[in-house]
């Protein structure tokens, strides 16, 4: 028997680490997570692996303030539906931004982060989160502007 979470995460690693989904060659639709059957074409569909570019914009979001144990340490955090440039949407956290500054339509790119742990000492899940594209990682533009205006 696998340690809790290990097998379930390991078999999805390509999708969770690299945003690998698939694309139906028949109807040209992109799918993430990868679908076993194209719902548009079914048996006429031809699904091939596709590596998403990891760029998109925020379709909708929430600031989570009550969460189960696995996520409690991250509260408050932003969870969003990100619309990837290929046209499909996924659900992921938004990081490297003040929650109050997140807006629908904001451009974001994928980054690689720790998602959660399966309990104390359990397997650690890594995978995609998203961050605003126009900022250097860890660099808060807004606060910078504020401090520079003070020095003036």
């Amino acid at each position: 028997m696998a340690e809790q979470g290990v097998a379930g995460v390991w078999r999805r690693i390509r999708s969770i680490y690299n945003i690998q989904g698939n694309k139906c060659e028949t109807c040209k639709t992109f799918y993430f997570p990868p679908r076993p059957v194209c719902p548009e074409c079914r048996r006429k569909g031809r699904l091939v692996d596709y590596q998403f570019k990891g760029l998109g914009s925020i379709y909708s979001f929430a600031i989570v303030r009550q969460a189960p144990e696995d996520f409690k340490r991250q509260i408050p955090y932003v969870i969003a539906q990100v619309e990837l440039d290929e046209g499909t949407r996924l659900t992921a956290q938004i990081v490297n931004v003040d929650p109050e500054d997140v807006k629908i339509g904001m451009r974001v790119r994928a980054c690689f982060r720790k998602i959660k742990e399966f309990g104390h000492g359990g397997v650690i899940v890594y995978g995609y989160k998203f961050e605003p594209t126009m900022k250097v990682t860890g660099h808060d533009l807004k606060k910078d502007q504020k401090s520079s205006s003070v020095t003036k």
């Binding site: 379930g8 999805r12 997570p33 379709y59 909708s60 979001f61 929430a62 600031i63 989570v64 303030r65 009550q66 969460a67 189960p68 144990e69 696995d70 996520f71 991250q74 955090y77 969870i79 969003a80 539906q81 499909t88 949407r89 996924l90 659900t91 992921a92 956290q93 629908i104 998602i115 959660k116 899940v125 995978g127």
Partner: protein, 386 residues
Amino acid sequence: MSNRVAIIGVGMNKFGELWDQNLRDITLEAGMYAIFDSGVRGADIDGIVIGNMSAGRFTGQEHLGAQAADMGGLGDMPAYSVEAACASGGAAVRHAYMAIKSGEHKVMLVLGTEKMSDVNQTEAMNTISVAADWEWEGMFGATFPALYAFMARRHMMEYGTTEEQLAKPTVKNHANAAHNPWAQFQRPVPIGVVMNSGLLADPLRVLHSAPITDGAAGLVMCSEDLAKKYTDTPVYIEASEQNSDTLALHDRPSITRMDAVIKSTRSALQEAMLEITDIDVFELHDSFSIGEIILTEDVGIAKKGEGGKALDEGITEIGGKFPVNTSGGLKARGHPVGATGVAQIVELALQLRGDAEKRQVDGAEKALAVNIGGTGATSIVHILGR
């Protein structure tokens, strides 16, 4: 129309956080009340259907069909357990409807049950989350309220729905529940309290959300030709429809409507040969207040985007043109997930029989219930008439 399916008895326990009762106690209580109300004897019943979402995780017990037959002293009759997340109750009603309609069963006991308060907050939150797509939403930190917050935020952006409107289903439903002796919260709540309640997942607050509830509800259903033998006030199921949508919310073209609800409502009205304006009273799945706003639009009470305006105008209040959630809804009657779909039918049957006391909609003849699973991946619609 001959060979209709009738509801001849209804019952439920008093919903709440019931530390002194276990899963068997509440299920038995609801079933017994339904049987007493119907006038059937145990020996007349030839099958049980029980709706439940997740007793295995909430209480550690599965195999609820056999448990219900055993605890009710109903012997060796077939007992079926059905699951469709928060629509499990509606699914149980529909399964009994199909079984009776087909002629396979004559008189059935329908139950919905959920005992939620025996686990801690983390386990309760995670168990509810599996109604959506656990691997691709829940595991990335999307709590169930967060998914409904996605809908609320889009609805606010696309249609200008306000925070005040978001609070109004709660105020209305609590006012209704004040007259429902079976409800979890039998007291009104002022709009200011709702609007200042703690944030769960912005923009959704605690008082926009249905509570954790222990509860069970029951119905006795039979074919039309038998119904008159037991009661002078049978209520008939005039339509039963069900549709599915993607499990994950992010896979839908729009998150400000529920396509499964639109389809199942449309086909139910067609089946019953009715227009939406013929319906006198509604139970709409308000697990979150934004859910009620979206559903009023999807069933056709309000135009798209005007669910909030419908609340401003009071048309969904008792006394309004289209009363919604006279029972108090999921918000105030309580939301034991597997029981909710059955409890909705209990309320509508009482309304059609004229037994809804202070919350009675005068002269109600037709009623409609929408029971949702997950974030709209299952929609089950029933139309009742007398």
